[in-house]
């Protein structure tokens, strides 16, 4: 049997005219936000390679997007992009710190000067103190420079209005870690999470705890003590017992929650069960118009979707009770859509079921079908998710590709004066 190519139309994929139109729109978006040659690349001899890095990343994202549209396999291509974002993000993030600060760790000077990059995960912990005191309990810049409070806030707000908790599967530059590791093995070795579905609510407990704990001490407790992703960004300088303890704790959590447990359980343990921002985003995600919809007229209750859902957002109870929406922790990752043998699950708009896109209705007019494909919720989620993921990642991704060129040609990953 001939194997399907990445541009062959699959179930749920769009027709050629639609995929050409959407790819062109995406190309415009990519080249607008990441114009090769627009940046000041410093060393003249590396200019072509820097432009090459920008071209390479743009083309990579464009191919992934086109394949996703054409084949309809949201889960696979989203995951490739999402893992790529996580892997391309951290080398440049850390290199940038080393180039400007001299080291990866947060120094007393950075804290003193409010030079610590603001991160979306810390948003819920800072919200209540901010409302009460009008002060930010995080040593970041308010609006100036790189990764300021307001830059993260506006990105988060826009992404939340569009994708809701889809942030956790399309935009977050950390999520690719446990997403990638959860797919290393074909079968789950440990079925701990399948038997303890209530673990999906642990992240809400972590959220409540960290928000409440941050209030009396007026400090972002999760960020200081519990965030596993400090291992791939920056952690406080280890200078004594307290900072050593914090380092060991975050290192343990990184190893356990984003590498080991996802690999053993095939679930996104960090994002689904621990991340307080994920829980926060589940609530904020109600602002998004997009949902996952289950068509119970097609569902045969095989429970495959329950088994493959990486964030424990589908349970056998949901399927048996014929609820049309998954649980609140759904991240719009698309695993259930791709995995459903009966195509009973798809993206939908709020208050509206959308199952049945791409049924080849020969009677319908061609233009009508074209418009239907363009405005279908699945198309919109795929487009918005890819576009947002790209906006968040492009600077870092291009930086990392360029740094690898630099490593090969100049023997060092770091660039004098930064990239």
């Amino acid at each position: 049997m001939k194997r399907k190519g990445i541009l062959d139309k699959g179930a749920g994929g769009v027709s050629w005219p639609s995929s050409v139109f959407l790819s062109a729109a995406m190309a415009l978006h990519l080249f607008f936000f990441n114009t090769p040659g627009a940046a000041d690349f410093g060393q003249q001899d590396m200019k072509i390679l820097a432009q090459g890095a920008a071209w390479a990343y743009n083309l990579f994202v464009l191919i992934i997007f086109t394949a996703m549209m054409r084949t309809g396999n949201t889960a696979l291509y989203r995951r490739i992009l999402f893992v790529a974002i996580a892997l391309l993000f951290f080398p440049t993030f850390i290199a940038h710190l080393v180039e400007y600060r001299g080291q990866m760790t947060v120094t007393a000077e950075d804290v003193f000067q409010n030079n610590v990059p603001f991160c979306h995960i810390v948003l819920p912990m800072t919200a209540v103190p901010l409302a009460l005191t009008r002060t930010l309990i995080f040593p970041a810049s308010i609006s100036q420079g790189y990764a300021s409070f307001f830059s993260m806030l506006t990105i988060w707000l826009a992404a939340t209005l569009i994708l809701g908790r889809g942030w956790c599967s399309w935009v977050c530059f950390y999520g690719g870690w446990d997403d990638g590791f959860s797919r290393l093995k074909k079968k789950a070795v440990l079925k701990l999470l399948d038997d303890n579905e209530r673990l999906r609510y642990t992240s809400f407990a972590v959220l409540i705890f960290t928000v409440l704990a941050s209030l009396p001490v007026m400090s972002a407790v999760y960020c200081e003590w519990m965030c596993p992703f400090k291992m791939v960004t920056e952690y406080a300088e280890v200078t004594g017992f307290q900072s050593t303890l914090a380092f060991l704790l975050t290192a343990f959590l990184f190893f356990a929650l984003t590498l080991l447990l996802p690999a053993l359980t095939r679930k996104r343990t960090q994002c689904g069960c621990f991340c307080p921002f994920g829980a926060f985003q589940s609530l904020a995600g109600k602002l998004s118009p997009f949902r996952i919809n289950i068509d119970h007229t097609r569902c045969v209750q095989c429970m495959k979707c329950v088994r493959i859902c990486p964030t424990l957002s589908l349970s056998s109870e949901v399927i048996r009770s014929k609820r049309s929406l998954p649980l609140v922790s759904c991240t719009l990752c698309g695993e259930c859509i791709t995995g459903c043998p009966k195509q009973a699950i798809d993206y939908a708009l709020i208050c509206h079921s959308s199952i049945g896109r791409h049924q080849d209705n020969q009677k319908s007019r061609r233009f009508g079908r074209f418009m239907d494909e363009l405005t279908h919720p699945r198309t919109l989620v795929q487009f918005a998710g890819t576009a947002f993921g790209f906006i968040i990642s492009s600077g870092f991704a291009v930086g990392t590709i360029y740094r690898f060129f630099h490593l090969v040609l100049h023997g060092t990953f770091f660039i004098e004066g930064g990239f």
């Binding site: 936000f33 804290v111 300021s148 307001f150 007026m218 919109l380």
Partner: protein, 506 residues
């Protein structure tokens, strides 16, 4: 059907919002900061400032005659010149994994260059802070290596030494010696030290404690246990000069309380007993209420002297503003300018627009154009949209820049003066964190002061003080200090000037 259409349109517009939101968001960051008034908690930078003491600029000459060593480290003036000494609120529950509660002190020098190769990031000076935390009964008078002695009424108990040898400072307590955290911020020309408050005896600085501080600088000698290098009669590559004898003081600059104290006299006297500067630690509940910057003055002096000066300054301002425009024989341009200063913006705008359109006089056109720029900035200030406000202020500044270019020649000195003060007025009124225009204001006021010249001392003094305040707000304290010092010559000419100077201890 309609519902379906609306929801779909909503979703499609959301997708287009992806690119737009990012672009729009990047324009909004600055205005949002102004509009929301959000700041970062001061606890990260050591807590709230409780006291800030100022020392004169350019007095890093020890007994009055000391000169720096000829070593390249000392080629820039000011590396031994103390400008400010800042005392912070003790941090009992410090954030961000600081290991223990601490108390931060800051020393600002007139010049501080970063030397990345050195442990501490800076080179040249040795700084000592002696603290009397326990009153006159206990402590030591001897300040080893400095050639000076503590006041018998305030013997020191704790000593902090900052030098280039390590990237931590040295803390000497009755219970022993420790290394303590030190932060060097070259852009602020400031070195911060953090005294841990969990060491034996350190709890004394809490609530209500009267603390005497001695702060001094010298040339660091890495080979001498005393750390302070003596000055010779003549400077050499490694040694400073200007000392009368081998027993001269080794202190190049010292913080003195306000009053009749003279650094030169104290350091060159036989006994060299130095007076301390004093602080009282407020209770935590009082912090914020009792906080006061520039406290070289006693509270009595501040309360009585400043109150009188403030009243006089207000009266002076009232006299300066003409009450009735019709009684004055003013030209159209003067009338428009006065209307502008009185806040009658619409009337002023009409007059300026007419002059700008019809006048053939370059000076008049430029002034009218410049003030139309000021009015744009005023519109910006009144706008409820931060984004519009920023745009209008920028447009206003552009118009003012154009106007100043038109009259920047020998023939239009009067118009240039008016426009420089107008541009400075706008630059000092807009938020510094968004526009960063305080340095522009300071330069414009200084240039305006030069244009006014010594024939009009009151106006010159006002310009100099405004320049100094703008430098101060820009965080460039040495330039501010210089402007205040020049302005202090004209202190008697204006109550407002005297008030501003007195507030800061000049």
């Amino acid at each position: 059907m309609i519902k379906r259409l609306i929801v779909r349109m909503h979703a499609v517009s959301m997708v287009f919002f992806v690119s737009g939101s990012f672009i729009l968001g990047s324009f909004l960051h600055g205005p949002l900061e102004v509009w929301t008034g959000i700041t970062v908690s001061p606890e990260f930078s050591g807590g709230k400032v409780l006291y800030r003491f100022r020392d004169a600029y350019g007095d890093d000459t020890g007994e009055g005659s000391y000169v720096y060593p000829e070593h390249p480290l000392f080629e820039t003036a000011g590396v031994l010149d103390l400008l400010y000494y800042t005392v912070y609120e003790p941090q009992l529950y410090p954030p961000w994994q600081s290991i223990q509660p601490y108390w931060q002190l800051g020393i600002t020098l007139a010049h501080l260059k970063e030397y990345p190769g050195t442990a501490a990031g800076f080179r040249g000076p040795v700084i000592r802070i002696y603290l009397d935390v326990s009153g006159p009964k206990t402590g030591s008078l001897e300040m080893v290596g400095t050639g000076v002695q503590a006041n018998p009424s305030a013997p020191w108990d704790w000593m902090v030494q900052i030098d280039e040898s390590q990237d931590t400072a040295r803390l000497v307590l009755p219970s022993g010696e420790y290394r303590i955290p030190m932060i060097v911020i070259p852009e602020q020309r400031t070195i911060y030290v953090r005294i841990p408050l969990d060491l034996s005896g350190t709890e004394q600085i809490l609530a209500g404690a009267v603390i005497n501080h001695y702060v001094m600088t010298g040339v660091y000698d890495p080979f001498a246990p005393e750390s302070f290098q003596p000055a010779a009669r003549f400077p050499s590559f490694s040694r400073g000069g200007g000392a009368e004898s081998r027993d001269s003081s080794r202190v190049w600059d010292i913080m003195l309380p306000s009053g009749d104290y003279c650094q030169r006299e104290i350091l060159s006297s036989k006994h060299r007993i130095i007076p301390p500067i004093q602080t009282v630690m407020p209770n935590r509940s009082e912090i914020g209420v009792g906080s006061l910057e520039f406290t070289n003055f006693s509270m009595d002096q501040i309360e009585h002297g400043l109150e009188t000066l403030a009243t006089a300054a207000k009266q002076e301002l009232n006299v300066l503003v003409p009450k009735n425009l019709h009684d004055s024989e003013l030209s159209d341009l003067d009338t428009a300018i006065h209307l502008f200063h009185l806040g009658e913006y619409e009337q002023a705008r009409n007059l300026f627009t007419e002059m700008y359109t019809n006048s053939e006089n370059i000076g008049e056109t430029a002034v009218a154009g410049g003030f139309l720029g000021c009015l744009l900035a005023v519109d910006g200030g009144r706008s409820s949209s931060p984004f519009t406000a920023m745009q209008l202020v920028r447009q206003g500044m552009e118009k003012l820049n154009e106007a100043i270019e038109m009259v920047d020649d020998e023939l239009h000195q009067q118009e240039l003066l008016i426009l420089l003060t107008a541009r400075a007025g706008v630059a000092e009124s807009v938020p510094e964190s968004v526009f960063g225009l305080r340095s522009r204001a300071a330069q414009d006021y200084k240039r305006a002061a030069d244009l006014v010249g010594p024939d009009n001392p009151r106006e010159r003094a006002v310009m100099l003080v405004r320049s100094a305040i703008a430098w101060e707000e820009a965080g460039i304290y040495d330039k501010a200090d210089l402007m205040f010092m020049i302005a202090s010559v004209y202190r008697e000419t204006s109550a407002a000037v005297a008030y501003e100077l007195a507030k800061r201890g000049y």
